[in-house]
């Protein structure tokens, strides 16, 4: 059924349709509307056989999720930014123990400086945690990916993060096609755990493992993610058969035929990129787009196949590794190992900086002429940067950077949001 609703609410309804049994969460922007929505549905009785547990922190949220998942309950939580960082120890435990928890990450920047706006720093910081990470392009895909995520997680016994851009998607009202309970029931069978704490058949979960077997347990985690590379497209196909639309999968190409320049990105930014690429295609530029949906596991073969005909690749990412540069770009480079393609890394949209079609046009125009440095910070204000650098050269006690820069920016900061 078509509905015009907020992204957060669409996800809340989708999770409810998955018949969760335990939901535990601690509020943090921009994730809050999701768990509020499900909380209301649990309270009203719309979601049956489900316990909504208020916890005192994100660390507690993930700890409760681990316990309930180990007890055999289909378990869901959601977080963002500092909240995700606060739960990190438990995040690694959930994957290490192989518990199929599904968690929404409403992507938001990490402080300091504190910033509530969108970028991908939070979930990317958990790149190596052993969780599967799927990135949604639209609210439709966000809700669809949650339904797929439970199936994927439970089949593999591995936790899945569904990443959706905070505010840009979570707070956007747009059209979604909400499936029926019958459709979801037909697609997603009841949870049948591979391991469960059952008093009738007691086991322990969480043994200490020494050097004699630690690497093997770790390797099996990797092996599961390699199996996910096969399972993710299969689940997307099944989803298409049941729901009639393409959602999920490993990667998605757009106008890649004969493309000499390919733009690679993840999440909602792909929409603005596609609009820009359409205009450049209309002007005769051979340019296309590759969206990465599955960031972990990383689909090396599919990325390689999609890029191998290109002359150059521009990776636009909403995060970066301080001290080296691109993160997604590094994975893309691994996928292109041995084939000769120029690659450019562009860091964009940090801390909620809007990524505009105008800026992308200018960027892609430079890229197609190979007039880009290896690493670009899109729309970086060099005046602000240089002013602070000069201040530091002039004065030993130059003061806190963020405060200095805010003073420099002055009232134009307010005007920017007007």
């Amino acid at each position: 059924m078509l509905k015009q609703i907020e992204g957060s609410h669409a996800v809340a309804e989708a999770v409810a349709l998955c018949r969760p049994e335990v939901i535990c969460a601690y509020p943090i922007s921009p994730q809050t509307h999701i768990v509020e929505g499900i909380g209301e549905m649990v309270k009203s009785g719309e979601v049956k056989n489900c316990e909504f547990i208020n916890v005192e922190s994100e660390f507690a949220a993930m700890s409760v999720a681990i316990g309930s998942s180990a007890a055999g309950a289909r378990t869901y939580t959601a977080t963002a930014s500092q909240g995700l960082l606060f739960m990190v120890e438990a995040v690694y435990n959930a994957s290490g123990l192989g518990l199929p928890i599904v968690m929404t990450v409403a992507n938001r920047a990490i402080g300091a400086p504190i910033n509530i706006w969108n970028d991908h720093s939070d979930s990317i910081s958990q790149r190596d945690s052993g969780w599967i990470q799927l990135f949604a392009e639209t609210n439709q895909e966000a809700l669809d990916l949650h339904i797929q995520a439970f199936k994927l997680a439970e089949e593999l016994s591995l936790p899945v993060m569904v990443c959706m851009d905070g505010f840009i998607l979570t707070h956007a009202y747009e059209r979604v096609d909400m499936p029926t309970q019958e459709q979801v029931d037909a697609f997603l069978p009841p949870y049948e755990p591979r391991q469960v704490l059952d008093p009738a058949d007691p086991v322990s979960i969480g043994a200490m493992v020494g050097p004699e077997a630690f690497a093997e347990v770790r390797y099996l985690e990797h092996e599961k993610q390699m199996r996910a590379l096969e399972l993710i497209p299969r689940i997307a196909d099944e989803f298409k058969a049941g729901f009639g639309r393409d959602s999920g999968g490993l990667v998605r190409g757009y106008r890649l035929d004969d493309a000499e320049t390919v733009i690679v990105a993840m999440g909602s930014l792909l929409g603005t990129i596609k609009d820009t690429v359409d205009e450049m295609r209309a002007a005769g530029v051979k340019i296309g787009v590759l969206g990465v949906i599955s960031f972990r596991p990383f689909p090396l073969a599919e990325v390689r196949a999609a890029l191998k005909g290109a002359k150059r690749v521009v990776v636009v990412e909403k995060t970066f590794a301080v001290g080296i540069g691109g993160i997604l770009a590094t994975d893309i480079r691994t996928a292109m190992d041995g084939i000769s393609i120029l690659d450019y890394t562009v860091v964009a949209g940090l801390g909620g900086r809007p990524i505009t079609k105008k800026s992308l046009h200018a960027l892609f125009d430079k890229a197609v002429h190979d007039d880009l440095p290896a690493l670009t910070f899109l729309d970086l204000d060099w005046n602000i940067v240089n002013k602070q650098l000069e201040r530091e050269r002039q004065k030993r006690r130059s003061g806190p950077v963020a405060e200095n820069i805010l003073r420099d920016v002055g009232s134009s900061h307010v005007a920017q949001h007007s």
Partner: protein
């Protein structure tokens, strides 16, 4: 403010359009200037940048006119609807709108309509209905559907009454304008 943009998107959806509404995500404190956006199209909306060149501008708080350049980027001859008891002249906007087509400009005492029908100074819904009438892009019925999607019971009823009065007020003014134009 944010609710108004969301309801605008729901009203557009009810008429079969694609619509995308989103807030500016400014500082999250009550009283801070807030901007919300809405795109309406007959095609899927993929663009995620803020709206920098709006076709229409609804100003809920006219005191902002003195604080920020609310008209920045507004397309020439775009619709302007301001929540105020005053006229454009009284707001000091005479020069700005001098060459603007009169049928694109409107002021509406939306707070009064909110107080009258909902019992609270809520200008959202009257402004939305006023915009529907001013722009001719949306039916009152769609606005009422959006109200029912967001509110229920007495609040919904009050808002529908406020919307209806706002819609008819703006429509009547538009008719007067076109009569004047015809007689001129």
């Amino acid at each position: 403010m944010v609710t108004a943009a969301e309801m605008l998107s729901i009203a557009a959806f009810e008429e079969g359009h694609h619509a995308q509404a989103f807030p500016s995500f400014g500082s999250e404190r009550t009283g801070a200037p807030v901007v919300a956006f809405c795109r309406i199209s007959d095609h899927e909306i993929r663009l995620r940048e803020p709206i920098m060149n709006p076709d229409a501008l609804i100003i809920q708080d006219p005191t902002l006119l003195r604080q920020v350049d609310v008209f920045a980027g507004l397309k020439k001859d775009g619709f302007i609807l301001i929540n105020t008891k005053n006229t454009f002249e009284e707001l000091g906007l005479e020069d700005y709108v001098r060459d603007w087509p009169a049928n694109r400009l409107c002021t509406l005492a939306a707070i009064d309509l909110g107080l009258k029908h909902v019992g609270r100074p809520v200008p959202n819904v009257p402004l939305l209905a006023g915009f529907a009438a001013l722009s001719g892009k949306l039916e009152l019925e769609s606005v009422c559907k959006a109200i029912n999607a967001k509110f229920s019971g007495k609040v919904a009823q009050g808002n529908i009454a406020a919307a209806t009065e706002a819609f008819n007020l703006v429509l009547a003014r538009a008719k007067d304008l076109s009569k004047e134009a015809a007689n001129a």
